[in-house]
Symmetry: C2
Subunit: 227 residues, 2 copies
Amino acid sequence: MEYTYDHPRPALTVDIVIFTLRENRLQALLIQRKDDPFRGMWALPGGFVHMDESLEDAALREMEEETGLKEAYLEQLYTYGAPERDPRGRVVTVAYFALIPADAPFRREGGSDAAQAQWCTVSELPPLAFDHTEIAAYALRRLRYKLEYSAVGFELLPDEFTLTELQYTYEIILGEKLDKRNFRRRILEANIIEPTPQRRTGEGRPARLYRYQPDAVAEVKARRLFP
Amino acid sequence: MEYTYDHPRPALTVDIVIFTLRENRLQALLIQRKDDPFRGMWALPGGFVHMDESLEDAALREMEEETGLKEAYLEQLYTYGAPERDPRGRVVTVAYFALIPADAPFRREGGSDAAQAQWCTVSELPPLAFDHTEIAAYALRRLRYKLEYSAVGFELLPDEFTLTELQYTYEIILGEKLDKRNFRRRILEANIIEPTPQRRTGEGRPARLYRYQPDAVAEVKARRLFP
DNA sequence: CCAAAAGTGTTTGCTCTACACCCATGG
DNA sequence: CCATGGGTGTAGAGCAAACACTTTTGG
């Protein structure tokens, strides 16, 4: 089959599930639609792919428009192309998920078009427009899955963090409690973080600060990191 | 960002990495290009997404055009959208991989447009047009990975098969020898195949025939099936 | 000195791996 | 009866899970 160029073409968009940790919850960013269809409903941030940008650049641009943040962990999820997924016509969307650190300087009160934007705890998402509920559910599944065999959890934390903070992050995302000694042993033996000279002081004994070892990408581990 | 409909749109295609077992090798189907760019080079089968069909339907349609086969295990891989991946203009492609059984009635001498089609052992692929080398490499990585934690290997075998045939399949795809007793124990304990009353007779002791248990979807196993 | 959080090892069970011989049939 | 591939069990090692107390600081 040879490519030709005079056919009608589907519209191509990107949609992004932007995760962060806020208020001890895993939250995702939602945008309230101000036009039909689905006016007033919540939806994932997203928009057109321009002719001169890659899909990933499109996702980053949309993310910056909504959050003011230029950098984040970004990963392509899946491409949704059911013919009837958008009532206005044929729209194929490439879904991404992004992780932004808890301390990132997020610009609130939303996007370039002043649409209402809001963080929402992932376990309490409202009904979403289009097939975005399905996309968000898949993003969460993927995040949990990746957490088990790769080092993606660090992307949600500041540059420096304590082991307890890291463990909380894992527990929040996985939705279960982890054993402190097993957690520390495994995360340290995996050689993906290194101690810094600093300690974080507060109530109780000061905690050593660690940082992510960027060279040890710790991509696909043979075994999942946590059970 | 609101969707609008008057922008120029990228062209949208699907490309498929069709795997099968032939001559004790894992092979993929390639098409020889008969037009520029890349005239004469080999490429993955693929083509336009029509306005009224889903992405998966487009992939199945292209596969039927090239092979005559209507059904196969089909899985979306990744969407490639670098602006310069096609020298003729902006083309975004959704890549799929397909598994067809060794005994499937494959229609040779190719596609609807009589392009030259040929099976090629995956470890000896020629240079491919566009970014298809990258796509094929990713498909192989994904196939190997899935083999380890899901029951996808059966899709390459006939409905009924012996345990030895199944083990050969795994060994061919993974590229390593497996222990017979460990293989049999684990595949049987996983409860994803069931014995049939038949045996396959030939040289040596007749072998019991098994069939895939379609209800036991055996989706994501907690542990990989084989090391 | 008390409250609060940080930090630290060992034992037990289970799973994975390595390994060699007998069985059933056809010619 | 012999050649060929089919079929079977066990012992040892390594890994994962469960589990409780001591240490360091601030108030």
